[in-house]
Subunit: 225 residues, 2 copies
């Protein structure tokens, strides 16, 4: 929950513009110019090849650095994406934590908990502006739409699918993407369009109203299969 | 259902660039330049003042024509908006027709019918491109978001609210906007993001899966009131 999605993890710290050697890699790892080059390269590669098609190897090559340095800075492709898109957290980690057994209040359904947790996250201004930025690219460019769709599928719907029923992976994926359609519609109407009653409702009212929808999509009868 | 949303109704017809006097108004009503000026003025006024704030009087004034001419060409503000935004139909008319008693198959719920009707409309390429255009403006500019939100509320959710339960107008508006959140989320994931399983599903599968959500939002327990 507390992993920063910034390009500057503690291990590779140092003030911007003050290069120093990393104890772990022996490289001039503190160079903020290098990190900026990696993030710029990541944005270009994700945009050109989608989330699935972009590789850390190609991102490193385009930035003129060793892939090991990219791994050292960012760990996983998802964390690199989160840093490049300035997401204030790592979606899959936050969602996995929110879906964990112990995270729910007694008697609270998965769906209600999911809506409540999502709204708590979304109320942060930084996330709202990155969501709007991603959505803006997605409606402007088909490539960006593909990138966002692949990222949502992997990093957001992936963890959600672990709590979805389904006799086969196809049914599970359908259920999970139904959840995505309602959650993205909620984010769109509450934060982008600011549709009156949805924007004015409290997180609790929305959790009670929309939670049962999420529960049905996850485990109820959706006519699938 | 068959009302064209073009800027050129039959009564005021004539080939572009070939002005002629309208029998009804005695004006040079066929002038396509005049219509283009009205539509440009409408787009500017809607963008600047929102859907609710823009008036036919101000749109006419900015286009340098008499308000009566705008009424003659477009009838209502909604139809002028539809023409200016190149919507291939008039939302409130289509939705009112789709919600009419006789429009449903025997035993079909309002929600299932609504999803099925919406998908049938949305499969048209023109609508998809105008939806994408409106959404693009909305995520780019807060003014455009307000305009779209007001238009959705008036022209789309207005007719939907006639079939929503509610002890008071506030509850009815909340129920209706929940419907909006799911329907916009469906449009976003199916047509813009093209999220795998939602994009691949048949309209029938989506109607069966999402219809009961719409029914619950309209008339079921949503914890409102």
């Amino acid at each position: 929950m507390t992993v920063p999605a910034s390009g500057r993890p503690a291990a590779a710290g140092g003030r911007p513009g003050r290069p120093r050697r990393s104890a772990r890699t022996g490289r001039r790892a503190g160079d903020s110019g290098t990190r900026a080059a990696i993030l710029a390269s990541a944005r270009a590669q994700f945009a050109a090849h989608g989330y699935n098609g972009a590789t850390i190897r190609a991102i490193a090559a385009a930035a003129g650095v060793d892939p090991a340095l990219v791994h050292h800075f960012y760990g996983t492709k998802e964390r690199l994406f989160a840093a490049a898109m300035q997401l204030p957290f790592i979606p899959s980690e936050v969602i996995t934590a929110a879906l964990a057994e112990g995270a729910r209040r007694p008697g609270e359904s998965v769906g209600i908990h999911m809506v409540r947790s999502a709204l708590a996250l979304w109320e942060s201004v930084e996330l709202r502006s990155s969501f709007q930025g991603l959505l803006r690219s997605a409606v402007t460019s088909e490539q960006a739409a593909t990138m966002l769709s692949e990222f949502v599928t992997q990093a957001i719907l992936g963890p959600v699918s672990t709590v979805a029923a389904g006799r086969d992976p196809k049914e599970t994926a359908f259920r999970t993407s139904l959840v995505g359609s309602q959650m993205l519609g909620l984010a769109l109407t509450r934060y982008v369009l600011q549709l009156g009653p949805i924007a004015a409702a409290s997180p609790e009212e929305l959790a009670v109203a929309i939670g049962p929808t999420i529960d049905r999509y996850l485990t109820g009868d959706v006519g699938a299969g």
